[in-house]
């Protein structure tokens, strides 16, 4: 499959996000009952962010060395705009869902003892999860339009 420079760049970023945040959220699931977002949690998150940056930088250096870089033109910009639109829609929806969850869980807890839990650890990771999914949607939208065209 013949991939353009932009497609290779996006595909690399997509894989980096999937691998690094996949690993991070797997560790979050194992510690889902943890109440506070403590120093260890922050350390794991920082490690994930640093890993993403390092992988992205190394990958794009290798990509620039082995294939000809192409400046963005109007089609790239238009595809990016459409991708950001989809990502924004998902981010806004996700944020609304997390806010609703926190409010409903708070009301339920006040009304009666419940199994619905809202902890800083869970809330922060839910917001982070929505942000990561929005980023994935952006990459996937871009790949879709590069492959199937803008009509």
């Amino acid at each position: 499959m013949d991939l353009s420079y932009q497609e290779k760049s996006i595909l690399g970023s997509l894989l980096a996000v999937v691998v690094v945040y996949g690993y991070y959220f797997a560790s979050v699931l194992r510690a889902i009952g943890r109440p506070e977002f403590d120093g260890g949690s922050l350390g794991r998150l920082m490690l994930a962010v640093i890993a993403i940056i390092v992988i992205e930088v190394v990958y794009h250096i290798v990509l620039a060395l082995e294939s000809k870089t192409e400046p963005k033109d109007e089609r790239d910009t238009l595809i990016e705009c459409k991708a950001y639109r989809n990502a924004y829609f998902l981010l806004a929806t996700g944020a609304a869902l997390v806010i609703t969850y926190v409010i409903v869980a708070g009301l339920a807890r006040d009304a009666a003892p419940t199994r619905i839990i809202v902890t800083p650890f869970l809330t922060i990771n839910l917001v982070l999860f929505v942000m990561v999914v929005a980023e994935l949607v952006k990459f996937l939208t871009q790949l879709f339009y590069y492959r199937w065209g803008l009509r």
Binding site: S4, R75, L150, R151
Partner: protein, 79 residues
């Protein structure tokens, strides 16, 4: 408003101009080769500015490069 399709003759025009490559056309127009490929395959309709620049490279009117095929085009031609 009904949706239509924009067809183009870029491949033929390139062939007529000493088999100009997609890369050469892309450089003259100021877009990437991938965008030229997408336009030729009707996967992308360029902006008016890029469309005019392509026509200028070939030295032909815009209508000779791009044709609009919409539901309204038959009705328009009948009037």
């Amino acid at each position: 408003m009904s949706s239509g399709r924009i067809r183009n003759n870029i491949r033929r025009l390139r062939f007529d101009r000493s088999e100009m490559t997609q890369q050469e056309l892309a450089e003259k127009v100021g877009v990437t080769r991938q965008t030229v490929i997408a336009i030729e395959q009707d996967k992308y309709s360029p902006s008016l500015e890029v469309a005019f620049r392509i026509a200028r490279v070939f030295g032909v009117p815009l209508e000779e490069v791009f044709q609009y095929e919409g539901a309204d085009s038959k009705a328009d031609s009948a009037t």
